[in-house]
Symmetry: C2
Subunit: 140 residues, 2 copies
């Protein structure tokens, strides 16, 4: 995300803080996550400002809205093609950079022009697995 | 989707019409699509009734909310594991029933317990491609 590309957006300190947060925290945050972090520096900033800034960055193609948690908007500022690995316990999203070559069943989709694909992997992350193991050991 | 499983939901004719529509129209409809179709039979039915019924069916695990179009809720009543093929022109969603075996980069995700995966393919469907071809021929 380059600031030069945002020339027609007012560069208020609040907006810059939002952009800075997104650049430094590639955790696929929700608008709420961004608000929580950035409002510590700018206590008077409203949730609406954060939300509108994220929507504006999305319109400009500088953020992608993820469709991982239905009903929850999460944002990704890494625009390189990649896949996601989602922990079904803590809902953390990890980026997977790997090329997969998948073919569609030809008999059904002959004539369909494929332009891309994205894989969502689901599983349990190492941290959550360790936590579960500890809880079992402690008979929790 | 079996009606017997819905014993604790009031079986009003409107609700039954919604369920019937979902069973017969596997186009991954939005709440708006369902409302449009079912309100033709029940002109006094409100959008809220349709929306709440869909949410209730989702809570009961009888529908899945798709995360294909960020910002738009689409519903899938086919609960078998499958993938989706999305036309980037008309946004129609086709089901892809095929098993893919994909491995995660081991060096990064060693310790991650994979439980499932879902692929979203993107492309241009045959109908949209033909439409584009015709428009080019007609110099539209």
């Amino acid at each position: 995300m380059e600031l030069e590309e945002l020339k027609d957006m007012k560069q208020t300190p609040q907006r810059l803080a939002i952009i800075e947060y997104l650049k430094e925290n590639k955790i696929h945050p929700t608008a709420g996550d961004v608000y929580k972090a950035v409002s510590e520096r700018f206590p008077t900033m409203s949730f609406a400002t954060v939300y509108n800034t994220l929507e504006k960055l999305k319109e400009k193609g500088m953020l992608v809205e993820l469709s991982i948690d239905p009903g929850k908007k999460r944002f990704d500022c890494d625009l390189r093609p990649h896949h996601h690995l989602i922990c079904i316990r803590c809902r953390e999203v990890f980026d997977v950079f790997k090329d997969y070559y998948l073919e569609l069943p030809e008999e059904e989709f002959n004539g369909f022009e494929l332009v891309g694909m994205q894989v969502d992997f689901y599983g349990i992350c190492r941290r959550c697995k360790e936590l579960e193991r500890k809880n079992i050991d402690l008979n929790l």
